[in-house]
């Protein structure tokens, strides 16, 4: 509980100074291209300095706020590290390669394959991993299909964006809940999923448009409609039950839907000739695959070590465990084991925070991280027993078509350490700003000059801005959710709609995040062409932001009218 000791100073000076840490973060990330985990250091120190100098925060309150931030970050990191492990144990066994090859065998229709890889498969990868890996994996695959390099980066950037919040096993969702506890999780899930339909639908249509303008739209629209419905409906239904697996399951359902679509004559064979600005190669006029698998791989690419089922088995195990754990009886028993740290009551010049013992405990056995670890252990044991790690290592060393990866531990640290540092420092910055009253001053200031309707419209744009700055939906949610939480309370808006808009904007903003764009251009060898890629993705992000803003007002209006 937080009590007000003295009226917070909501004036121009305090408002502008409170904005300082966020502005500094923005400048260091964008203007000076600092990595997020370094820029966050400066922003955190600035937030702490402002807390002490202007918000009368004593050292004890500062230390407690920082330690609470570290604990909030641990909750998120316990998803990040197991998710990263899951990605690596499947990748190093050749399971991800098997999934890629499985998709390629579906069809010889270029537009179908571009959508399958650049929209469906990339968002499936985003459902299980993140950290930029989906872009790094899919951009070279699109290049291999004959897509021009700039388009090979822009397409997966657009295609994966929708699954950033519920993806990576909902790390963005949990980050939001950690810094701005959700008043109504089910309503938040419903509203967030509804708002996600815009980037889902526009993602498919934008990729088809980039591929071949109106001719491609005419050819691809039935596929886009089917996939968009599968992704949207699955996301909505599963997120109500378990946000943790919603992104993964929605993307996996879309992967399954690709199979019947690929058997349809329309997508089984190459489409009719038309101009294809996204493609650099002449159009192939292949015969139907009819579900058969090629007997010889003429390109010399290695055959997958395993089938699709085996490749997906760790994720299926994870899914089954998550469903079982979500049963109320199981959840009640396992949920009894909770961990957390106590903190004493502290007081700043303006706010008083009650003692908490423990502070925001989490149930270790039902935590998403534990569930992912079960899938990791099963997958690792299975692949190890079958000898896939040794076999795939040999393939990586000998095949020119498969890139050799660094050692397992190094890959784990390269991906995990900087991301973890950024998360810890950003969450600490957020908790210092919240506990000292800076976020309250920002929220009250905005509420004083902006009408509720305009705030609803702009809420997702703030999320876009955060993701653009940090290259992370999670970081955007950590940074801005406390502000949204308090602004929603001040403007008497439904918290669940405003947070839903933030999370949707945070997802969409990944399509224009410089760090993601550079990651893509680096993997296809066009470093320096980031501007060209952004010219393709920025119009999409602007269109989605405007439409999500409008839908946010409509959804909130429905809530006011007595709906969810």
């Amino acid at each position: 509980m937080v009590a007000v000791v003295e009226q917070l100073p909501v004036d121009a000076l305090h408002w502008l100074v409170s904005l300082g840490p966020i502005l500094v973060l923005l400048v260091l990330l964008i203007r000076y291209s600092w990595p997020a985990h370094v820029a966050a250091v400066v922003a955190m120190f600035l937030a702490a300095g402002i807390a002490v100098a202007l918000f009368q925060t004593p050292a004890l309150a500062l230390a407690v706020a920082a330690a609470k931030g570290v604990w909030d970050a641990v909750f998120i990191l316990y998803v990040v590290w197991p998710a990263l492990l899951m990605y690596l144990i499947t990748q190093r066994a050749g399971a991800l390669y098997a999934i890629q090859k499985g998709l390629q065998d579906f069809s010889t229709n270029d537009l179908f394959l571009v959508l399958a890889f650049g929209w469906v498969f990339v968002s499936f990868l985003q459902g299980i991993t993140g950290f930029g890996a989906p872009i790094a994996i899919v951009a070279p695959l699109l290049l291999a299909l004959g897509v021009r390099p700039v388009y090979a980066v822009a397409i997966p950037l657009i295609g994966h964006a929708w699954n950033n919040n519920f993806g990576t096993l909902a790390v963005g969702w949990f980050a939001t809940d950690s810094v701005a506890p959700m008043q109504a999780p089910v309503e938040t899930a419903i509203h967030t999923s509804l708002l996600h339909t815009i980037p889902i639908v526009l993602g498919g249509f934008a990729i088809a448009w980039l591929y071949g303008r109106s001719d491609a739209l005419r050819h691809a629209w039935p596929m886009i409609v089917v996939i968009a419905i599968v992704q949207s409906v699955a996301l909505l239904l599963v997120s109500i039950y378990s946000p943790f697996i919603a992104g993964f399951l929605a993307a996996a359902a879309a992967m399954v839907a690709l199979y019947p679509l690929s058997r349809w004559d329309r997508y089984d064979t190459q489409h009719q000739p038309f101009d294809r600005p996204a493609m650099s190669e002449q159009m192939r006029q292949d015969v139907a695959t009819d579900g058969g698998t090629p007997a010889e791989d003429e390109t010399g690419e290695p055959e997958p070590l395993m089938g699709l089922f085996e490749a997906l088995l760790p994720y299926l195990v994870l899914l089954v465990v998550a469903v079982v754990v979500a049963f109320p009886a199981v959840d009640e028993i396992l949920g009894q084991v909770e961990v957390g740290f106590p903190f004493p009551a502290v007081e700043t010049g303006y706010l008083e925070h009650d003692a908490e013992d423990p502070y925001e405990p989490f149930a270790i056995l039902t935590h998403p991280g534990t569930i992912i670890l079960v899938g990791v252990v099963v997958g690792w044991l299975l692949y190890r027993r079958r000898g896939y790690y040794e076999e795939w290592q040999e393939v990586m060393e000998t095949s020119p078509h498969v890139e050799e990866e660094p050692r397992f531990r190094r890959s784990l640290l390269e991906n995990g350490a900087p991301a973890s540092l950024a998360i810890v420092l950003l969450v600490v910055m957020a908790t210092i700003m919240v506990d000292s009253g800076q976020i309250t001053v920002l929220a009250l200031g905005i509420a004083a000059v902006v009408s509720p309707t305009i705030y609803l419209f702009l809420a997702n744009a703030i999320g876009v801005l955060g993701a653009f700055m940090t290259g992370s939906n999670t970081a955007s949610n950590i940074m801005f959710s406390p502000l949204h939480d308090q602004a929603a309370a001040e403007l008497e808006l439904p918290q669940w709609t405003v947070l839903g808009a933030q999370m949707t904007g945070g997802a969409v903003g990944n399509a224009i995040s410089p760090s993601n764009v550079v990651l893509g251009t680096g993997t296809v060898g066009i470093v320096g062409d980031e501007g060209e890629v952004l010219r393709k993705t920025i119009p999409w992000v602007l269109a989605v932001t405007v439409l999500v803003g409008v839908l946010t007002i409509l959804v909130a209006g429905f809530a006011f009218a007595g709906g969810a």
Binding site: W34, P35, H37, V38, V41, V42, M44, F45, A59, L60, L62, A63, V64, A66, A67, V70, W71, V74, F341, P342, F343, P344, V346, D357, R410, L413, E414, A417, P418, S420, L421, V424, L425, V428
Partner: protein, 97 residues
């Protein structure tokens, strides 16, 4: 770009900083609840130290990059004697400048 600072890989430094930041949690929690001022103050000091590591690493790497860029420019003019001797910008211990 020099990949090491004082013999340590930046990745190792990031990992150390991460562990140091995590250690803030038990120290501050126990020290603050039990009223042991030196303990929570040490936790706060670790927060500062852990946070400074990535900042200092980044600045050192940028300095190295600038140095190397400068030397490369010199090389183009054929004026860098060190590089002609294959010594680059490392000191006697083989550490980065």
């Amino acid at each position: 770009m020099t990949a090491e600072i004082a013999g340590l890989d930046p990745l190792q430094l990031d990992t150390i900083a991460f562990v140091v930041l995590l250690s803030v949690l038990p120290l501050v929690s126990y020290g603050a609840v039990q009223g042991i001022v030196p303990l929570w103050a040490f936790g706060l000091a670790l927060l500062v130290a852990g946070a400074l590591v990535p900042l200092v690493t980044e600045l050192a790497l940028r300095e190295d990059e600038d140095d190397e860029d400068g030397e490369n420019e010199d090389d183009e003019d054929g004026e860098n004697e060190d590089d002609e001797n294959g010594e680059n910008n490392e000191d006697e211990n083989g550490e980065s400048a």
